[in-house]
């Protein structure tokens, strides 16, 4: 067994700097707004699409710049992202990611400390962005959804917000996104669903994402 298992180390609370988080959000969003010129469509009542409580935001992942787009869409909220371990190699970048509220995750060996950090923040009413595809999808269509987002939402008792990022055909084109109504996972399963049930809910979430894509295509044909 890995030696770290029985080491009994206590997890360090992640220090989040709200001032710095807002500073990065504002200064980063100005060039983001100029470059992306984001356009947001709502597939449901606009108020319902912007809940103020804890929520898992689950967009499809079409580009490395998606986090900036998500920030432009949900600009009123402080968002928490999951950032892969590799991004923490540089000390300055590591400090910056931690300070803006990112949660470090190891894709190959997902640590329980990261899991607790996600669930604790959701329970505290924060918004966490999780890409259920698990990677940037450079092909057409949507990849299969992993059930991690559903697990985290179920454990924290929060809904999942489907967001459809419209894939870009040219880098300079305007970025568009469609927001759907949050899905209350708690009504779809028991407090402790089985792994298969969670997989089915993930599949449902993917179908909702595809429905948002269809909604977008219908809007464009009008």
């Amino acid at each position: 067994m890995n030696s770290t298992i029985s080491s009994g180390k206590k997890s360090k609370p992640v220090k989040e700097n709200r001032f710095f988080q807002d500073f990065v959000k504002i200064t980063g969003s100005i060039p983001g707004l100029i470059w992306m010129r984001p356009k947001v469509y709502y597939a449901a009542d606009r108020k319902k699409c912007h809940p103020k409580d804890g929520i898992v935001i689950a967009p499809n992942h079409v580009s490395f710049f998606d986090p900036i787009m998500v920030y432009c869409v949900f600009w009123r909220r402080r968002l928490n992202f999951l950032a892969t371990k590799d991004l923490y190699k540089n000390k300055l970048f590591s400090w910056m990611l931690t300070t803006v509220g990112c949660i470090q995750v190891d894709k190959q060996n997902f640590n329980m400390r990261s899991m607790h950090a996600v669930v604790d923040r959701l329970k505290a009413g924060k918004a966490i962005v999780i890409y259920p595809e698990g990677q940037v999808n450079e092909q057409e269509g949507t990849l299969s959804y992993k059930s991690g987002a559903v697990l985290m939402a179920t454990l924290a008792g929060v809904p999942i917000q489907p967001v459809y990022n419209v894939p870009l055909k040219k880098w300079y084109r305007r970025r568009e996104a469609v927001i759907g109504e949050p899905i209350d996972v708690g009504t779809m399963c028991s407090r402790f669903p089985t792994v298969d049930e969670m997989q089915k809910i993930s599949q449902y979430l993917r179908e909702q994402e595809l429905a948002l894509a269809e909604f977008y295509e219908t809007l464009k044909k009008r």
Binding site: M1, N2, T4, I5, S6, S7, G8, K9, K10, S11, D106, Q108, N109, F110, N111, M112, R113, M115, H116, K146, S147, G148, L151, L155, F192, T194, V195, D196, E197, M198
Partner: protein, 82 residues
């Protein structure tokens, strides 16, 4: 808490996590692999650990999904914590 008691409790947790597909832990050896023999994926292992935490009242802070490979390792970890 001895190994048998932990295994018995763990069997119930497996049933909750895996539903009808849960393997019977009494017939599984402690060397049974969580992935290959019990059919858990990485999310399943995370969920299993969360369920163990709630059931045994312990916290697995420094464990990753790849660290727990067999039923025996899970039992040993629980024994070190309870």
């Amino acid at each position: 808490m001895d190994k048998e008691q932990i295994l018995e409790k763990l069997g119930g947790i497996f049933k909750m996590v895996m539903g009808e597909n849960a393997a019977n832990l009494e017939t599984s050896s402690e060397n049974a692999s969580l992935v290959d023999d019990l059919g858990l994926n990485s999310v399943g292992i995370l969920y299993l650990v969360i369920a163990i935490e709630e059931s045994f009242g312990i916290r697995f802070d420094d464990v990753g999904t790849s660290d727990l490979k067999t039923v025996g390792q899970v039992v040993e970890y629980i024994r070190s914590k309870v």
